[in-house]
Amino acid sequence: MESLRLSNRRTFLKGSAALVVAALPLPALAGEDRAAVVLGTWYKLLLELIRHTATYSPPVASRAFAYLGVTVFEALATGNPALRSLSGQVRDLPPLPARDAGAHDEACVLEGALAHAMAAHFGNTGPTGQRAMQAMAGKMADVAGAGVAADVAARSRAHGVAVSEHILAWSANDGGAVIENMGFPYDYALGGEPQDWVPTSTIAVQQKPLLPGWGTNRPFAIPETGPCGLVPPLAYSEEPDSAFYAEAKEVYDISRSLTDEQKTIARFWSDDPMLSPTPPGHWVSILLQIFARDAVPVDRQAELLAMLGMAISDGFVQCWRSKYEHDLIRPVSYIRRVIDPKWEPLLITPPFPEYPSGHSTQTGAAAAVLEGLMGEGFAFDDATHEDDGLPVRSFPSFWAAAEEAAVSRIYGGIHFRAACDNGLVQGRCVAGHILGLKTRA
C-alpha cells in the first residue's frame, strides 16, 4: 500500500474554501478544485444527515460511510489507471461499469455519483434533510459543471450514477440495508443469567438491544466468522475479591473522582447518535479536516474515505458479532446491583451489550488504517464538536486519539476496561484485513 505522508501540524483552517460553496467564483475553479468542493461539500452534508436521520445508529452509519466511500473511489478509479478497483478484492463486488467513449470530467462524475448515492442512502431522512439534499444537488451540479462542455458533463454524471447504482445493487443484500424500528427488534429474548445484558434505560423501544443481528452482515474484508483477536471478557463474579468486581470497582471509583479533563474527554468521544455524527462519523470528520488542512488530492481523498469507511464498517460487524456472543452486562447494571444502587454514570449507557466497546473496536480499526496509509506520528487537530460547544483537541497520532477514545468510555462509566483495551486490539485486527486491499495499480 502506498503511503502518503503529509506535513503534520499545519494550522487547521476552519471553513476552508473547499467547503464554502457561497464563496465560489464560478466558473473559475480548475477541475481538481471543483471535484474537491463536490466531494467535501457532499460529505459535510453526509455528516449532518447521519446525525439527523433516526435509523442511523453507529453501525448503520458505518455502513453508509463504507459504501459511499467505495462509491467515490470506484467512480474515480474507472477513469484513473493509477487506482485499482476493489472488485475482486472485497467480498462479492462485481466489476464496475466501464466509462463510455469520450471525455469525462471527474467533478461531474463525483457529483453524479454522490447525488445519486446520497438520495438512496437517505431516502428515509426527514423533510429538512430532503430539502437540504435538493438544494445541495442543485448547487453541486452548478459547481461541477462550471466551464464543462454540456455533453462531457452529461456523460460524466451518467457514469457517476451508473457507478452508484452498481454499488447500491451490491450493497442491497449485505444484511444491513433495511432498518426497522430504529434498529430495535420487536421480539428478543433476554439471556436471563446474572452476567447477561439487561436494559439500562426507561425508554420503551430500548428494552430490546440494538441490532442483534448486525454481526451476521456481509463484511468487506474480514473473515465471516471468528473473533479477530478478541479474547473473552473476564469471568463474571459478584465476589469482592474477583477480577470482575475489581474491574467494575475501577469504573465506579473513577466516576467519583473525575477530573474536568476526564469529563471533557468522555464527552468529546461520546458521539451520541442523533446528537453527533456518531463514532464512525467522528473519524470521517477527522479525515475531512485533514483534507482541508493539507489540500489532499481528490483521488487520495477518495482512496482514504473508502479505506476508512470499510475499516469502521467491518469494525462494527466484527464488534457486534462479539457483543452478542458474550452478551455482557453494562457497568450501570452491575454497579447498581452489587456496589451502589444509586450510582449514575456520566454518559448515557448505549442500549446493547457491553463487550467489547464498539467505539474502541471501530476506533482501533480507523486509527490503524489511517496510520497504515498516512504514517505513524501523523498529528492533527480535531474540531469535530466545535459547533456543539466542545473544545478542539490535538493529537500527536491517530493511535493516540484511538487510545483516548477508548479510555473515554471508562470515564463515561459505560464500559469496563477490558472492553476498551481489547476492543482496540480487535480494531487493529480488522484494520489488518483492510490494509491488505490494494487501491493503487
Binding site: 449532518e48 433516526a54 426527514g126 423533510p127 430504529m182 420487536y186 426507561t202 425508554i203 420503551a204
Partner: protein
Amino acid sequence: MAEGPVIPEFIEETATAGLATSYMGDWQYMVGGGAAVFDCDGDARLDVFIAGGAGAAGLYRNRSDLGGNLRFEPVTGMAVEAVTGAYALDVDSDGITDLAVMRVGENHLMRGLGDGKFERANEAWGFDGGDAWSTAFAATWEAEQDWPTLAVGNYVNRKEEAFPWGSCTDNWLHRPASTDSGAGFAPPLPLTPSYCALSMLFSDWSGKGSRDLRVSNDREYYKGGQEQLWHMEAAPRLWSEAEGWKRLRIWGMGIASRDLDADGATELYLTSMADNKLQVLDPEAGGLPQYKDQALKRGITAHRPFTGGDLRPSTAWHAQFDDVNNDGRADLFVVKGNVSAMPDFAQKDPNNLFLQAADGTFVEGAEAAGVLSFATGRGGALADFNGDGALDMLVVNRGEAAQVWRNVSKGLGGFVTVDLAQTGANLDAIGAWVEVKTDAGLQRREVTVGGGHMSGILAPLHFGIGHAAQAQVRVIWPDGLASDWISANPGTAVVLQR
C-alpha cells in the same frame, strides 16, 4: 382485580360542527398547528382560533347549546395566514381576552374588542413581532408588574437551505416597558442560547412560589443544546449543572404539566418522537430540578401506535392533562402525527387518550372512548364546549380539517369549575394555584399560559370530583396569599375573586 378507570364516551361531530380550518403548508409548517380556546365574545362559551399554516387561520364563535351538539360559526377578520399557533390572555388587563398569534414571519398581538372582534396592537403596545419562525409561547406576570412577560420560542433559520442544522434563532423575552415609557413592552430580550423551542411554560415547578421558564427543544436542529430551565431574574440565566440541572436531549415538542400527586411539585409530560417522558421531581434531590422518567412505569411512553397495525415509532406533539371522566384523576391526551412522510415513523399514528387509574398508572382509552383518529395531528384541546361538565375534544390536523368530539358519557362523576378574577392587573390570576379537596384527596392545578404544542386554553379550570357530595375549593394567588376554603356542590361554577 382492581377496577379500571371509567371509559368515557365521545361521538365525533366534525362533519357538523362547522370547523373548516386545516393546518396547511410545506416545510415551514411541518411543526406548529395549534389552537387557542377561550371566550372571545363574553357569552361564557369557549370559542376557538385555529392556526391555518400557509392557509388562513380561523376564528370560530361557539354556538353550541348547553349540553347539545357542538356547533361553531366562523368570525370574519382573523383570517391571517402563516399562523403556527396562538394563546389567549388578557394582555392589557381590560377584562377582554386578547390573543398572541405566533407566525412564520411577524408575530401579532391582537387586542380583544369584545363580541369576537380584534385589532392589531403591536404598535400600540410596543410589541416587536420580529421576523422568525415562531413555534412556542408562554406568558406570566412577574412580581409587581401590570403587564405580562411574554416568551416567544423560535425555530430554525428558515432561510438556510442546505445546512439549517445549528441555526436555531434566538427565543425572545418581551418584558413590560419601564413605567417611565408607558404601557406595553420593552424591546425583546434574546434568550441566548436558544435551541429551537417547540414548547415553553412559565411554571412554579417546585411549588415554592417562583416561576421559571421551562423550554422544550427539538434536538433535530440544535447543536450543543438540551432542554432548558431559565431563572426568571432581572437578567434571565439558565439553571446550570452546578445547580443540579441534568441534561436531557429529546425531540422536545410539547409540554403538559400537572401536579399529579398533589405533593406541591409539578410533573411534566414531554412529547417527542418514539418515547415520551413523564418527568417526576426526584424527592431526594432536595428541591433541585432533577427528574425521574416514570413514563414506562406508568404506561404512557406512547412510543408506537396502540392500534392500526403500524408498528413504527410514533410522533407526538400536543399534550394535556385533564379529567375526561370526572373521576378526580387527571387523564392524559396526546396528539400524534407524522412530521411529513418520514418512513421510519408511523404514518397511521392515532392520538392517545390515557385514563388514569387509582394507582397512578394510565390505561389507553382512545379507541374505546370513540376518539380514534389516524389523521396527522398537531395541536388540540380538551375543553367543555357545550357547558355540560364533561370535557370535549378538539384536534388540529395537518392537511386535514380540525376534528371535534363531543363527550356524551352517561353517569360520569361530578365536577366543579373554578374561575379566578383579580382587580388591577393579571385579571385571570395567571400563576395562581387552585386546590380542590374531597374525601378522595387533594387536587392541585397551576393556572398557566403556554405549553402544549402551540395550543392553549384560557377558561375556568375543570375538576372532576368523582362521586363526592361536596368539594372544598381555594386559590393560592400568584403573590402567594391563599384564600379560605369554600364548599362547592357538584356542578358548581365557582368564581374566586379578590
